[in-house]
């Protein structure tokens, strides 16, 4: 149903993504594609897979940016997937009820069997989190790996999204952002996690952690010359104590 849950979901499951350690390796991109191709949201098709211009459906993409200039410049990799917004207009615009937000955990999903492929929800998503699948003609989006995180047959440590499990830079964290005492909320508080484009009013669940300030070299006082009392290399003898 395209109506959003009446009251905020008790749990707000989502991701916290650390721009400080993301190295842009694309592991999360492929893991997401691989899991979801064969998972609940799948298949995620690829048109012209071995042709001139391959073009497929992806639920998570990583962009490389340069930010700032000169001394302040840095390279920032930015993973982009659904933020599971509280005020998800992608849901309310949907004419068929295919898009919905789950009351129990806040996950925004598409019911592939109801989607007519009108694309309106993709237009309504400011974050570019939805893609129309060329083969099935239905809208696809990050499911927060709903078929992993709640699969009780998996050992508890594996009940996390594929992109989180795979991230070698440990830049992706999964959990309940509604829990103010939980690890995610604490991480967000400690690191000044931000909400993307709050001015649009979508109230995303996911948060991004900005790069840490970094420790420049300039702070280092230069070394002082070894006192040359005992002449050239005298300090060696002193160091050896003999």
């Amino acid at each position: 149903m395209t109506a959003l849950p009446d009251r905020p979901p008790a749990r707000r499951l989502g991701l916290v993504i650390d721009l400080d350690t993301c190295v842009g390796c694309q592991a999360c991109v492929i893991a997401c594609k691989a899991w979801n191709s064969g998972g609940a949201a799948g298949p995620l098709a690829d048109a012209e897979p071995y042709g001139r211009r391959p073009s497929g459906t992806w639920l998570n993409r990583v962009h490389g940016f340069e930010v700032g200039e000169g001394e302040d410049g840095r390279t920032v990799y930015f993973p982009r997937s659904c933020l599971h917004c509280e005020n998800a207009a992608c849901v309310t615009v949907c004419p068929t009820g295919a898009s919905y937000k789950r009351a129990e955990d806040g996950i925004v999903l598409v019911d592939a069997s109801r989607c007519i492929g009108c694309s309106l929800c993709a237009w309504a998503c400011p974050y570019g989190a939805r893609e129309l699948d060329p083969a099935s003609g239905v809208m696809k989006k990050c499911t927060l790996c709903v078929d992993r995180i709640h699969d009780e047959r998996l050992p508890p440590e594996e009940r996390e999204p594929a992109c989180v499990a795979v991230c070698p830079a440990r830049a992706r964290h999964f959990g309940d952002l509604a829990d103010p005492e939980g690890p995610l909320a604490r991480l967000v508080a400690e690191r000044g996690g931000v909400e993307l484009l709050p001015e649009l009013g979508y109230r995303p669940t996911n948060r991004y952690l900005p790069p840490r300030p970094g420790r420049p070299l300039a702070a280092q006082a230069p070394l002082v010359e070894a006192p040359s009392t005992a002449g050239f290399l005298g300090w060696v003898d002193r160091l050896l104590g003999g």
Partner: protein, 952 residues
């Protein structure tokens, strides 16, 4: 909509094996549903990757299901590279190969050149070559990172390259020099993130700011090929301030060993030794000369002595300090060379000293050093360093990497907590054994060689030279051109074979190396050489080419006989301690790959094929006494039963009849089952007290000898001063029985400096810098492995073409805008590419991703695909040779010590393409013919479909 969120259907079967989407050797689980692979994730128990996988690893399913997979053996019918190959049966393929090879073996085994690329079974392939009797064997190290490997093995007895790791769990400062991805990619990423979380400081020295450099605290955009100057300036600063670890130097290195100073003498610059050959030191307590290896010796680090014979000798450290304290090693000079400001160099030196020495953490793990002294624990030296091809792929890479090790050693930062740490089977003796085999008398028709083709020369006598001084090997490894070419020189084989220099060969046998494309220097020339014919006979100059690949790569098209390999889901492999194991700092590890699915094509694991060919050729190691195959069960059988030395086989785990032994022990028939039960890897944790300062840790050395990692439990002294290099120098000065040809004497004298120094890359010295003002380098993209990602429908969407990245200011000066087509010209040729403007690059450097450009038709891609029309290779611009010297001879574009291909010495000039020029790259190669039997690639891929769609 609160349906349940469980998937229906059976839980998939999860089969553990080892990834082979790159050489990082991560443990993976292949999820099988209805016998089909559905998903790959990491094995959380695995010591390498701890459950993570990279993009390539996760995309392995599409590698395995690629439409470019070879389907059956092939033979050439028409012209190489132009006409299609035809499918033949395995019996015809093996008969042909055996016929060609046995003729060579019976007449002149050297005429087989057997070279392998990205494989991880060099313990088998090298052994096979030795059994065949040819010295002409090597793997890919010569064009990869032999500079780093050799510099490490001749200096610290280990190496950055796969044989060690930075201890980022404890490091305060991490110097990451010239690394984009490397072979330890997942562990390094895990460690970097953990280090950042702890608040450590990461300094990336790299002309390019991507990947790891992007998340570093400090990015030092260095001019390519100048790291040696930077490092030695740091050494200068540390020495000036007296911030070195003198006790460590005295105890665990050759800093106190005495060097003979006897200008003009035959032993000038060698270590003073006692009659038993033991290096001498001056005991700083007694003033006596005595063997430095004696447990109670206290080597003095300074002070000249008179030897008994009257010659003068001085300790290594004194020579070293004297040299690097000279003003020419100061930060100002280095700043001129490197582009890194002198103040920054000083700050970095200070940061190194503080991280290493100020208030160092103490790890209370008691241990005993080689002298027998008991220590209550280990003091950390929390400066970790890691360097790779940014250092290696330059013609000064060997000495630069030695300089880096020198810096580490001076800080006491080898195998201490927080520093570089060895991975088993390292450390090994310096240099490690064995010696290279293949001297004229060792190559006999119809007989195996007495040793392995590759090894570690200690001096000129160990070179592989004909009596007239010409190289014994087709690739000139272990000749005066590349004396320490300890990995062989794959990049020279084709050119030399085509020229018949030093001699013609009959069969070129390649395995898993895309030599007609991205691993060629000067791809265009390589292709010409592969197809060059002798005008008098009309025959190809390289008469027969056998190639084993799993996919339709560019090189397949140039082979006469193609042996189709399986994919890594379909075979056994070993990541062996004899070869390239998966060791970690705290444990001895190895691993296997196991078949996960059955091939449905006419393909065979190459190792099985080698074993069968070995048997057909009657090679003793592969033929039982009764003439039957020694390993009828193929490679799996070999892995279990082969013994290289008594009790030592390819796999170290679960040896002994009951699997109770580690490292050394009789074969265990159930060994592979034991591996499989354990997730396909073996991990033996080193006990406390054997984990640090292993080169001088008595308990470790004894344990390593017990496990068969070391022949003898003797201490390994780190070699600040490299005596083997001096031996070559002395030969160049006219000493000894083996001397370089006249024309190379000056070169040997110059570069074989026993103490590291920096010199400009040879291409710059040859004057290229002036005409070609920009350096051009390539980088590994995280999501692609060399040429083998473009047939992967997922990976190729991420990187299906490449651009040349140019600094904004540099581009502006040239009138180039983002997206402009540009011409890039080197000494060797011109290409057209597309410009991308960036800030994150040293302004005098341009860069692109490596090996993205492809040839249409290869990899089952259409002619007009982006990889072929918008992608490009820098290789086309890289000359295999330098401009001829005054003697008219064009030296190899390589490091003069190791022969390492100098990919990153490339210099170019750039201009905006003319208004009439099309936007495509140039050259665009004639597409390769379609292979018979390859399926038509699907128009839409929805490979998840059989598993998908279960509604949450």
């Amino acid at each position: 909509m609160a349906e349940t969120t469980r998937v229906g259907g059976e839980q998939p079967q999860k089969v553990c094996t080892t990834c082979y989407m790159c050489a990082c050797r991560c443990g993976i689980r292949v999820h099988l549903e209805d016998g089909r692979p559905r998903f790959i994730d990491g094995n959380r128990a695995h010591p390498v990757n701890r459950g993570v996988v990279c993009a390539k690893g996760a995309a392995g399913i599409l590698h395995h299901e690629s439409p470019a997979r070879l389907r059956a053996p092939l033979k050439r019918v028409g012209e190489r590279g132009r006409d299609a190959l035809v499918e033949i049966s395995w019996s015809e393929a093996l008969d042909t190969a055996a016929r060609w090879l046995s003729a060579v073996r019976a007449s002149d085994p050297k005429k087989l050149a057997f070279f392998t690329g990205r494989d991880q079974s060099q313990a088998l392939t090298g052994f096979w070559a030795a059994q065949f009797g040819t010295p002409n064997f090597a793997a890919h190290g010569g064009f990869c990172s032999v500079n780093v490997a050799a510099a490490g093995l001749y200096t610290i007895g280990g190496s950055f390259w796969e044989f060690g790791e930075p201890d980022l769990e404890r490091a305060r400062l991490f110097l990451l020099i010239g690394v984009a991805e490397d072979h330890d990619s997942n562990p390094l990423k895990l460690a970097l993130a953990a280090m950042k979380a702890r608040g450590g400081q990461i300094v990336a020295i790299n002309p390019v700011r991507t990947g790891y450099a992007a998340i570093a605290d400090v990015w030092l955009p260095i001019r390519p090929g100048t790291d040696g100057a930077l490092i030695l300036a740091l050494v200068h600063e540390l020495l000036r301030a007296g911030r070195v670890d003198a006790p460590y130097l005295a105890d665990f290195t050759n800093a106190g060993w005495l060097v003979i100073e006897d200008p003009g003498g035959a032993e000038d610059g060698l270590f003073a030794r006692d009659p038993a050959g033991r290096p001498l030191c001056r005991d700083r307590r007694t003033g006596e000369l005595r063997p430095a290896e004696e447990p109670d010796a206290a080597p003095a680090l300074r002070g000249a002595v008179r030897l008994a014979d009257g010659r003068r000798a001085r300790p290594v450290f004194e020579l070293l300090a004297e040299r690097y304290l000279e003003p020419r090693f100061g930060p100002e000079v280095a700043a001129e060379v490197t582009g890194v400001p002198a103040a920054t160099i000083r700050s970095l030196a200070a940061a190194l000293a503080r991280a290493a020495f100020d208030d160092p953490p103490f790890l209370a793990e008691p241990w005993t050093d080689w002298r027998g002294r008991r220590h209550p624990g280990v003091e950390a030296r929390a400066v970790a360093v890691h360097a790779m091809r940014g250092v290696s792929a330059h013609s000064n890479g060997f000495q630069t990497c030695r300089a880096i090790h020198l810096l580490q050693i001076l800080l006491g930062a080898i195998d201490r907590p927080g520093s570089f740490r060895f991975e088993a089977p390292y450390p090994r003796p310096i240099p490690p054994g064995p010696l290279p085999c293949g001297k004229p008398e060792q190559v006999v028709p119809g007989r195996p060689m007495p040793g392995l083709p590759l090894g570690f020369p200690r001096g000129p006598e160990d070179l592989l030279l004909e009596p007239d001084g010409r190289p014994c090997r087709i690739d000139e490894a272990f000749s005066w051109d590349a004396p320490l070419a300890v990995h062989g020189l794959l990049q020279r084989v084709i050119g030399n074979a085509r020229r018949g220099d030093p001699y013609p060969i009959e069969v070129l046998f390649l395995y898993m190396a895309n030599m007609a494309w991205n691993s060629a220097m000067a791809t265009d020339e390589t292709i010409r050489m592969l197809t060059d014919r002798d005008p008098s006979s009309g025959a190809y100059r390289i008469p027969k080419i056998i190639y084993a690949d799993a996919f339709y790569s560019e090189t397949v098209a140039y082979a006469d006989l193609v042996l189709p390999d399986t994919t890594y889901f379909e075979r056994w492999d070993a990541l062996s301690l004899l070869d390239r194991p998966i060791g970690r700092a705290d444990s001895v590890c190895d691993a296997i790959r196991r078949p996960v699915v059955r091939p449905e094509r006419e393909v065979r694991p190459f190792q099985d094929v080698l074993l069968e060919l070995g048997h057909r050729l009657g090679l003793p190691a592969f033929t039982a006494e009764d003439g039957t195959a020694r390993y009828p069960g193929g490679y799996a059988d070999y892995l279990v039963r082969h013994e290289r030395a008594p009790g030592i086989g390819p796999l170290a785990g679960w040896r002994g009849s009951k699997g109770e032994l580690v490292g050394r022990g009789p074969p265990n028939p159930r060994q592979l089952e034991a591996y499989i039960e354990n997730g396909c890897f073996f991990e033996h944790r080193l006990p406390a007290g054997t984990r640090f300062v292993r080169h001088g840790n008595r308990d470790y050395l004894e344990l390593a000898a017990e496990l068969g990692l070391l022949a003898k439990p003797e201490p390994i002294f780190l070699q600040l001063y490299s005596e083997p290099l001096q031996r070559f120098r002395l030969a160049a000065r006219g000493h000894g029985s083996v001397q370089p040809p006249e024309r190379l004497c000056a070169r040997i004298e110059r570069y074989f400096d026993p103490l590291p120094f920096w010199y400009a890359p040879l291409e710059d010295e040859a004057g290229a810098a002036h005409e070609f003002p920009l350096a051009a380098v390539s980088q590994r993209p995280a999501a692609m492995y060399h040429s083998w990602g473009s047939h992967n429908a997922w990976l190729r969407q991420i990187l299906g073409d490449n651009r040349l990245c140019i600094h904004r200011a540099t581009a502006a000066a040239l009138g180039i805008e983002d997206g402009d087509p540009i011409r890039v010209t080197s000494r060797h040729g011109t290409i057209r590419a597309t410009a991308r403007l960036v800030d994150g690059v040293e302004p005098g450097t341009v860069w692109t991703w490596n090996a993205i450009g492809k040839r249409g038709g290869a990899w089952a891609l259409p002619a007009e695909t982006g990889e072929a029309t918008a992608g490009f290779l820098l290789n086309v611009l890289i000359d295999e040779r330098l401009p001829p010297g005054p003697d008219g001879i064009a030296p190899a574009n390589a490091d003069p010590i190791t022969g390492q291909a100098a990919w990153y010495d490339l210099r170019v000039r750039i201009e905006k393409a003319g208004p009439g020029e099309p936007p495509q790259t140039e050259p665009i190669w004639a597409p390769l013919p379609r292979l018979p039997g390859l399926p038509d690639p699907p128009g839409v891929l929805d490979r998840g479909a059989p598993f998908a769609g279960r509604r949450p």
